[in-house]
Assembly symmetry: C2
Homo-oligomer: 186 residues x 2
């Protein structure tokens, strides 16, 4: 694959996570990469193509992470911990996550980008639900709510707290994440 193509996706993702989908332009990317506007259109004819590719890349990355954790024999605690660590990293880098950034702009997105975003979100929530369910069975976790609801709650807590910490600068993100984990202890 082309290096330029990959750098466009990388830069585009960063722009979505910091400025938002509707606030970044092809000019932002081309200037940063030292190429012309039309060169970005060469790889991604429309902005919708780029958006879709960025979400697809995120899906792939997430699936790879799951595979990786399975092959390493991570238990439910470790898997949840690894997932939360992604968000702690994003917080450190002052970035949102792709779902939290594209979610509010959902209605302005192209249909294809929308369905990829739906796929990504459902993938995360269903994975989290499974982890919570099997972790509860094994006695790792304790909670009374429906596992699906609990998964949505944990996920939305992580997503929105990144947004909140952008507004409230002194939000203690780590202790906030610890509280999520503490709340699951038997």
């Amino acid at each position: 694959m082309s290096v330029t193509r990959e750098r466009i996706i990388e830069l585009g993702e960063n722009l979505i996570l910091t400025k938002g989908y509707n606030a970044f332009s092809y000019q932002d990317i081309s200037t940063e990469l030292g190429i012309k506007n039309a060169a970005v259109h060469y790889y991604f004819p429309t902005k919708a193509n780029l958006g879709t590719s960025i979400v697809k890349t995120n899906i792939l990355r997430f699936e790879e992470m799951i595979d990786n954790m399975h092959s390493r024999g991570f238990d439910e605690w470790k898997q949840l911990d690894a997932f939360i660590k992604i968000y702690i990293k994003s917080h450190r880098e002052q970035k949102l996550c792709i779902v939290g950034s594209l979610g509010p702009d959902f209605d302005t997105l192209n249909e294809t980008t929308q369905s990829e975003l739906v796929k990504m979100t459902e993938l995360i929530v269903s994975w989290l639900t499974e982890i919570l369910n099997s972790g509860k069975e094994k006695g790792y976790f304790a909670f009374n709510e429906d596992a699906g609801n609990k998964a949505s709650m944990i996920f939305s807590s992580l997503v929105a707290s990144l947004q909140l910490s952008r507004i409230i600068k002194n939000l203690d993100y780590k202790s906030y994440c610890q509280a999520i984990q503490e709340g699951l202890k038997p």
Copy 2:
């Protein structure tokens, strides 16, 4: 106050809650109101002015609601319930809340709009923290986390779940909100 001015604010707020700040234009407003583009600029010279006014209106509305609940003698349960009901209504109307909509676009906002958004967010979180604290003392609520953390968690759950339900259409918002309240019962 002018009716047109108020309708511009109302429409602008709706546009922010559905399309996002960077996706709506003065044209969207003027067309809907049957006036010209320049008429919107007459009331709000810049888009930043409009954005700031919209957030200020939200702050006022929230403060009025708190006052109203106090004068009606609402206890902590009823106050939290009323707060959650706002989000259930937003969900029904397929809207986000102002914090969840402007939060991701924070870095692209004017400084004045930013500081009003900070004010609004801190107002909500500190109010929620107080409610949780005094409600816990009176035995209405039970939780182990720090009240500030718990307040942030509840708030971000509400904010992000509106975003999530835009992506995952069959998310059961009401039972999700009930789970938040159940989790607080002693």
